[in-house]
């Protein structure tokens, strides 16, 4: 586990928030996932040890909570809201547009590894649906045309990035 020094620092700090170490499991999973991109089995063991738990105590969280993942995802993470209020205003078409633009279905990553698409449950912004979250940014009133525009922007970012 090669965590950034500031991640380790934040981990040590957050553990002090709770009278019982185990409570820090979710915060640690978030911090490690932000640092590493996903939760590897090494990460599960590292967190378990840090909190004086068994690996299964961490593994059962990774497999339950939808936001934790065991594989890396694309550079950008698109989440289209699937739930009723957004669906009534056309979120299925919005999701289909992203799917077509990036050639990957919900739950998959585009072939170039750039974009992961997800069709997620209510994002608590139902009054301005359909809503789409791209990484931390929330986009409201996204119709098919706007989804196309967002996809084009993402593709531009990819093209503009110098090769690694």
């Amino acid at each position: 586990m090669n965590l950034k020094p500031e991640t380790v620092q934040r981990i040590d700090e957050v553990i002090t928030h709770y009278p019982v170490k185990r409570s820090a499991a979710l915060p640690l999973l978030h911090l490690v996932q932000e640092d590493q991109g996903f939760i590897s089995s090494a990460a599960v063991e590292w967190i378990a040890q840090k909190l004086e738990l068994q690996p299964i105590n961490i593994y059962e969280l990774v497999t339950f909570y939808p936001m934790f993942r065991q594989q890396p995802i694309g550079r950008r993470h698109i989440k289209v809201c699937r739930t009723l209020s957004c669906a009534l205003l056309g979120s299925h078409r919005v999701c289909a547009e992203f799917q077509q633009q990036f050639g990957c279905r919900p739950g998959e990553t585009s072939a170039d590894g750039e974009v992961t698409l997800e069709f997620v449950e209510c994002l608590a912004s139902c009054g301005s649906g359909p809503v789409v979250a791209i990484d931390e940014e929330l986009y409201e009133h996204v119709d098919v045309a706007r989804a196309g525009g967002l996809a084009a922007q993402l593709k531009q970012h990819t093209a503009a990035r110098p090769p690694a």
Binding site: T83, L84, S85
Partner: protein, 449 residues
């Protein structure tokens, strides 16, 4: 601009140009003055104000807040915790997000008054994982408030100490249920606990007495402490006091949030006058009044309701006052304040299939009826939409739902059964004739599953 019918208390500054979430802005608007006055009062007095206010919880169940506070077990000698429920995960609900992102100090002031009133020394804000910015804004706001001693080891020089920490969830709806939330905060899977014995007020976080309140509820506490319980109770209607943040989504011209005095506005006034009515060329067909778990109301149905004075009135959907008791009297609930509107373009079987998919995804899986039943309801309704509907499917769906409700550890069982029970009851004709009707569906119909 707020609608003229609104009474903005909690959302006074939401979307106000120039209003920012930092402490300086809050202080310019009189921030933390109520906390200063409150810590000079006896805690019991504040609890009394909240009792007198009649405030009912805004998270979904509408339980009287002051009563909840007095149920806290003080004999055990264990520390008392406050958990702020900022999970905001009931579909159709989008109010706490604005408080968290735009006016975090209002919430923190409400939390600190609540903590003082209940002599709580540690509060946790459990915020849904999908609000990463909200979590950072709250952390920043707490740090600012701490620097000015509104929070921390010595609140405003009184010697009373109280810390607040932010705890992020990770995308599971069941963490909104208070005992599931507590398990999650303890670092476990959010499997709800059975009541009795696990009433949070007695055996909550770390088996200590715990108060769980919604974000909006705690903001109300701040205003009650400011104006007094009696003045607060004069807003709204008897037993349904104060204002309510109503979240309107779906098929209306002006969806969005509206803060209205409880019970002072009817469903018809809300949807027609305030939200601008249906889309052009459309009429209202149905509305779910209190988050996706609430039983659906069909436009055209009539309700005979006994009033508090013993008389009986007859209402249509448009006539129902928007408050806890009236919606309950009509067989549904005020719930979380999420009003989801559907017009005559909507295929009710598909709408139910969408809701069922949500519950099947979110069941925690502890109870067999809920785990299996929610999945069966999803599969049956999806099969109908995908071209294999049978005339008995409505009855089948209803029988599955009937076998979930009342047989589970937590109220999610009812939450997932109520949509199916009410859709089939009220739109049974659509379920029966679905196979035929589906063939004539317009080609441009909006897909819901």
């Amino acid at each position: 601009m707020p609608h003229p019918a609104e009474r903005r208390l909690i959302f006074r500054h939401i979307d106000e140009p120039g209003y920012t979430p930092d402490l300086a802005c809050y202080l310019r608007h009189g921030g933390y003055e109520v906390l200063k006055k409150s810590v000079a009062r006896k805690p019991a007095e504040l609890v009394d104000e909240v009792k007198k206010s009649g405030l009912r919880g805004r998270g979904g169940a509408g339980f009287p807040c002051g009563v909840k506070w007095t149920l806290v077990d003080r004999k055990s000698g264990k520390p008392v915790y406050l958990i702020v429920n900022a999970d905001e995960s009931e579909p159709g609900t989008f109010k706490d997000r604005y408080i968290i992102h735009q006016d975090p100090h209002q919430l923190i002031e409400g939390i600190m008054i609540t903590c003082w009133a209940n002599q709580v020394k540690q509060a946790y804000i459990y915020i849904r994982g999908e609000f990463p910015r909200g979590a950072r804004i709250l952390e920043q706001a707490i740090a600012e408030a701490r620097a000015q001693r509104f929070v921390g080891p010595d609140v405003l020089g009184t010697g009373y100490g109280c810390e607040i920490f932010v705890h992020r969830g990770a995308g599971a709806y069941i963490c909104g249920e208070e005992t599931g939330l507590i398990e999650s905060l303890e670092g476990k899977r959010p499997y709800p606990r059975i009541k009795p014995p696990y009433f949070p007020a007695v055996l909550g976080l770390y088996q200590c007495p715990t108060i769980v309140n919604n974000v909006e509820t705690l903001c109300n506490v701040r205003h009650i402490a400011e104006i007094g319980g009696e003045a607060f109770a004069r807003m709204g209607t008897p037993n349904n006091t104060g204002t309510r943040l109503l979240c309107v989504s779906g098929h209306v011209q002006r969806p969005g949030y509206y803060e209205l005095e409880c019970g002072k506005v009817t469903m018809g006034q809300l949807l027609h006058d305030i939200c601008g009515g249906p889309r052009p060329g459309r009429t209202f067909k149905a509305v779910i009044p209190g988050g996706s778990s609430a039983k659906i109301l069909r436009f055209g149905e009539r309700f005979k309701v006994r009033q508090r004075d013993g008389s009986t009135v007859e209402w249509g959907v448009e006539d129902i006052p928007m408050d806890f008791d009236s919606l309950a009297a009509c067989g549904s609930m005020g719930g979380s304040g999420g009003v989801i509107v559907m017009d005559d373009s909507v295929d009710m079987v598909a709408a139910l299939a969408n809701i069922n998919a949500f519950y099947a995804h979110e069941s925690c899986g502890q109870c067999t009826p809920c785990r299996e039943g929610s999945l069966w309801m999803k599969k049956i309704s999806a099969r109908m939409v995908h071209g294999e509907a049978r005339a008995q499917d409505g009855d089948l769906l209803k029988s599955v739902a009937d076998q979930i409700a009342g047989r589970t550890i937590c109220p999610f069982g009812e939450a997932c059964a109520w949509p199916t029970q009410s859709f089939v009851l009220k739109f049974g004709d659509e379920f029966k004739g679905y196979a035929e009707a589906r063939k004539n569906r317009p080609a441009d119909a909006v897909a819901l599953v």
